[in-house]
Symmetry: C2
Subunit: 241 residues, 2 copies
């Protein structure tokens, strides 16, 4: 499995992805699930992929081919993020159908970035090829093993969260997911995009020996235990059935 | 959907279940998902059910009928918890097959309790009718919407946790699930079984206006925000790609 998420706050965007891929227990590998496409000072895209590896790899390589060929329909030609998401969705859908369709070949994507002076944004592209923007109150999107890491995002992320808070919260969400699900694992990739910077250079990778990931893991574990310890003691006498 | 969990610590057992049932958005109701069967001073069972409501209701009413008829095969006759789980599994499987099988009619159960002087224990009965005990290191079992509330259980519950800690942690796990998933909701039922007490009387129900549930929700929210705020600040400079 996979866990990828993107957060869209006023200050910009944060993308985080794990790198574990498995096709059966004997075929566990690491693949980057974060793909960047940048035309300096003009348009920036980050695409995260989850699901069938052959489908996601094919979609990414078709996007690259589209950019090289300068076709009508490529990330350099789309008018806005929605059109970019439509484009990724249609490539994905076509690729799945080519192999007979069905849930085996399904893939989901998060497409985010900024085009010119438009606001930065993120979209979730479903296996069917259609897409959604995040809700205003919880401005993040997830693909893959999304449930374990959702509660902390719901509690912390707001539109006015800083990029630093958002990136830290995304790493905590990833940490909770890795702890509860073995099919999600490092290296963990993080990309922080500052609004209007038109630069994708703040990209980082933490492997399984990362001292910083270990620090987050230990500090969060200790802080959570303490937070739990400071809850009001249980009062089970009141509402006896 | 549903979220039910059971915890088996040295001191005894804790069971927690939500009560929301939906069969389409127009048919949201509340049903208790916690069923108790007690033969004083001899054997105690708690059964939690998730999945197709017709299947779970049928299984419970067949268990009740079995107890009344005094048949060979009923909860009063089984030798141990595993046999009880097998019995529930076979009733569930038969009921599903009666309606053609398939995922629509599937149901899962947690069967827990204590028989005589045997150690109290819990089992998870899969839709196929087979069952498992919990792992020694993480002595809890979940059915239904289990992922949102798993990380906190993994961090807190150990075999030597007290019944109070276990019940509080189960309520926090339920709170995280309700916050992230609308199909899980109150009343929340809690049953605390003290080892060798052979009493199922410590049973409590918290409805949506429960002051105690609100307190847990607010305290946990505040404590989590604080725990997050005390994490080491993000250091993204080190591992630049």
């Amino acid at each position: 499995m996979t866990y990828c998420l993107a957060i869209a706050v006023d200050a910009g965007l944060v993308f985080v992805s794990d790198s574990r891929t498995n096709a059966g227990v004997d075929q566990v590998s690491t693949y980057s699930k974060m793909h960047v496409f940048s035309r300096p000072r003009d348009r920036q895209f980050v695409i995260l992929g989850a699901g069938n590896l052959a489908t996601t790899q094919s979609v990414i390589s078709q996007i690259q081919r589209g950019l090289k060929s300068g076709k009508d329909h490529s990330l350099w030609q789309v008018e806005d993020l929605h059109e970019a998401a439509d484009y990724v969705g249609s490539l994905s859908r076509t690729e799945q159908d080519k192999h007979g369709g069905g849930s085996t070949f399904e893939a989901s994507f998060i497409v985010g970035g900024q085009i010119g002076e438009q606001a930065p944004s993120i979209c979730l592209v479903y296996p069917a090829g259609n897409h959604i923007s995040p809700p205003a109150k919880t401005p993040y999107l997830q693909i893959g093993e999304s449930k374990y890491g959702k509660p902390i995002l719901d509690r912390i992320i707001r539109a006015d969260s800083t990029l630093e808070t958002s990136a830290l919260c995304a790493l905590v969400s990833m940490d909770s997911t890795m702890r509860s699900n073995l099919t999600v694992g490092p290296p963990i990739e993080v990309l922080v995009y500052e609004r209007d910077s038109h630069s994708l250079e703040r990209r980082y990778s933490f492997d399984e020996n990362s001292e910083y990931l270990r620090q987050i893991n230990e500090a969060w574990d200790a802080n959570l235990q303490e937070a739990f310890g400071r809850l009001p003691p249980i009062q089970l006498s009141g509402d006896h059935l």
